[in-house]
Amino acid sequence: MQPTWQTPRPALLWMLISVVTALALHAGHLPLWLLGAAALTVLWQIQVYRGAWQHPARFIKVLLTLLCFGGVLSSYGRLLGLEPMVALLVSGFLLKLLEIHHRRDALVLIYLAYFIVIIQCLFEQGIVTGFVVVFGVMIVTAALAGLYQNNQNTQNKQTNRSGKLGTWFRPFRSSAVIIVQSLPLMLVLFIVMPRIGALWAVPKEQGSGVVGVSDSMSPGDFSDLGGSSKVAFRVEFEGDIPAQSTLYWRGLVFSDFNGRRWSQSGSWGYQDGSLLQWYGEKPEPWDRQATRRGDALSYKVTLEATNSPWLFALATPKPTSQDVALTRDFRLFSKRPLSSKTQYRVNSWLDYDLETGGLSSWRRKIELALPEGFNPKTRAIAEQWRQESPDPVALLNRLLKLYNKEFIYTLKPPLLGKHTVDEFLWETKRGFCEFYASSFVFFARAAGIPARVVVGYQGGERHPSEDYLLVHQYDAHAWAEVWLEGRGWIRVDPTAAVAPERIEMSFADLFGENEDFLAESLLSLERYRHINWLNNLRLRLDALDYAWAKWVLGYENVQTDLLTGILGRLDPLRVGLFLLAAGALAMLPVAIMSLLGREKKYRDELDKFFIQFCQRMERAGIARRPGEGPRDFAARIESLRPDLADQVSSLTGLFEQQRYNTAVLNKRDLRLKLRRFRPYLRSKIP
């Protein structure tokens, strides 16, 4: 095929820069060979442009297409899913670069580039990503502008004598101007446009590299709790932040133990109504088993992406956000797995009673179940203790005292064999929260006290300047809940018995100086928290990130209140009208600026005066023709209305002298003189 159309040079440059930008944005999750292919296609396109190489023949293109398909398949093992799809799109995008024969091909490439740049938001939504994506859009727009610049060139050759660098940069300049001009409109759309839920779900890699609380717990399997400095969630309280030792963020409740692993009990066990009670729907029968006393503690949680549906809240919660449910064990549950940062509101009653009315037999069975053939020693000792002191409270206190006396809290416990609880309780006696929670619940169950393991987070870091609580991944914690006759479920934290400072101080304060703590993240700012200014910097950055999450990513949650505040009531007509009005208002400065740019002529007092004079003559039936000079106009008036001659000639004479000759009068005199003419200008011509 013969190329019939030559890409304008600046457009080509910006197209190649767009390709590189789009690729660079996605470099993190594209296979390496695709980046190599990108370099090759860019080189090819440059060589074609220089005339050194040919456009690839048809069979080569077919071959390359097949190769890309094969490459994507072999890299990911499948075609469905977000990442393989993006890789496929990018490879198509690169191949398109090889066959730009017409302007329409270049347009396809540019539109694809827009799409690819924006897709980046599916992977990351941080503040930096936001700005990078806008910058990418700017570059792609520059390519688009460059594509149409050629026409402009032929139109006004004369004005187009800027330097060589200027021609290269002009597309970017116009693109930047376009983006800046559209900023107000973007803002309006952001603020007013109703958020429509996703029309389709994007399948994202499950749990890929996201650390957090997992849906099961097996103490003794891994022996190194290094801790990650990543933020788990941030909480903004309406009132004061409660004491550190009361901040138990419940995430999951494990009632099922198979000897090695704690996990949630199957839903088949429950018999009183639905397991989930969605916000806004009528309470399930089991909700009556919770007694909430006193004032609710209101707060807003901004949870990082976890790819699981568990939400965290203080006991006993009640959700106040859409799509959040209260579960049967009084935790919170999200309708969808959290693939991105999510915000939800909760009311919690710290003073509560749970299931005080007694446990039904099937509930008791679940909370007392122990696997056969595991930890015989513990079971025997528990039985023995129960005989010695039938009071469960005394029994549990005895166990806690044992922990306090003989156990050591460490992040690097020894590995455990088959009977994890036996080995831990009677041999190694070293471990972290999971070990204590697991052994405590096992012991309690063995002594006939219903108990369960709760995992979540404990405590958090108060942001010194912004008023919110920062909970990190290393604040992850496991504790126990036991059920006592007449008192219901009670939280017991066996770790507190071993290392009370773990609960009262934040985890980082406690282990900050420890070599092992955060050993894996040398570059983490968290690691250097004892250096004051670095710590300040870290907290500042976090505040910024939180503000972004709250006001930009989580804007949906604020939007309804904000709009209701302005409009009174939300209905399509009001929102539409408001959108139009606000859009018009936002574009007004842009319009005014461009109008001013055009009208910045010599519309001074003198010109206005002359225009006034012309208008007056027009009313009298003698309109100045466009382009007619004052002298000609005066002569024409004179010939048509000789009676007006004197005034007209003195007026036009003044104008001509003042305008085209050296200004005879200074500004003040001129103003005075013009004022003298004013009554004349206002008077009607007979």
Binding site: Y602, F610, G629, D632, Y660, N661
Partner: protein, 306 residues
């Protein structure tokens, strides 16, 4: 500067007595001369082109030669030639007809481009190079070329780049009925020409030429001219707009025009009067001259003075 106005009026009156009914064209020709430009007169044969040129030279008291351009005219026929002098034993330069203050190049488009360009070099440089020697032409040097409309057969139309060397192009056109009757009833104008006395001398002419550049062009007038030029560049009917050189020529002519009107400053009317003669031959792309004239009128009507 009423003296310039007086001189101009006298000149127009005297020339007008011979070339009857063409006062406006005479004024333009004078303005062109005062602005140190060369004049192209384009019209059909017998419209008084030669008469105008002769009368101008006579009235201004300048030396005058006429070159009749034909298809076999050679550059040497214009600039001159060195002839071997047997007595002296050396070559002696015989200046051609171009060594004159007013040169009438009659029917310039009848000759070959090679010969045309010999004259055009003289016009732009004010000098000629003959056999490696540069010779200055007398001052003031004023070329009045006449040409038949290019549509006639046997012509070599001047290319745009060479048309640009002429400051103005004017057309004489048929005389109006009154003038024509007067012309028919009177004597042969060429006879009157012999009795015409010079109204000014060289020195006065140079003074006037020097004054032209001193005429004030206010900021808003410059702006007006610029907008006119811009407009010529955006019209879709035209391939090319007016070049910056064309713009400077327009301003210079408007200055001369203002000076002849007795003013020390330019007003839009001066520019409007000069626009068509100065820019008409510089605009190309339109089908014919008539169209160019209507386009220029359109430009004048669409660009306001303020």
């Amino acid at each position: 500067m009423s003296s310039v106005k007086k001189i101009a009026d006298i000149l127009v009156e005297r020339i007008g007595a011979i070339l009857i009914g063409k006062d406006q064209e005479i004024r333009l020709a004078l303005a062109c001369l005062f602005a140190r430009g060369h004049l192209l007169i384009e019209d059909l044969p017998g419209m008084g082109k030669t008469t105008l040129a002769q009368t101008l030279a006579a009235a201004l008291g300048l030396s005058y030669t006429r070159i009749q351009f034909t298809s076999d005219l050679l550059p040497a026929d214009i600039v001159g030639v060195s002839v071997y002098d047997r007595d002296n034993g050396s070559f002696e330069f015989h200046p051609g007809p171009v060594f004159s203050q007013v040169v009438l190049a009659d029917e310039i488009n009848r000759t070959t481009p090679k010969t045309q360009s010999a004259l055009l070099e003289a016009m732009s440089e004010g000098q000629v190079s003959v056999e490696g020697e540069t010779r200055q032409l007398p001052q003031p040097f004023f070329v009045i070329a006449t040409q038949n409309p290019a549509t006639q057969s046997g012509t070599f139309p001047l290319p745009e780049s060479q048309l640009d060397r002429f400051l103005m192009r004017i057309k004489l056109g048929y005389p109006d009925p009154v003038a024509e009757r007067q012309l028919l009833s009177g004597d042969d104008p060429r006879k009157k020409l012999k009795n015409l006395k010079a109204s000014i001398n060289e020195a006065t002419l140079e003074q006037i030429q020097a004054k032209v550049s001193g005429v004030k062009a206010a900021e808003s007038l410059i702006d007006y001219i610029q907008r006119l030029l811009q407009q010529t560049r955006t019209l879709p009917q035209l391939d090319n707009g007016i070049s910056p050189r064309g713009g400077m020529a327009l301003l210079q002519c408007a200055r001369a025009w203002a000076l002849m009107d007795g003013r020390q400053y330019v007003i839009p009317e001066d520019v409007q009067a000069c626009l068509e003669p100065v820019c008409g031959h510089r605009l190309s792309g339109a089908a014919n001259d008539q169209e160019v004239i209507s386009l220029i009128q359109q430009i004048l009507n669409s660009v306001d003075i303020i």
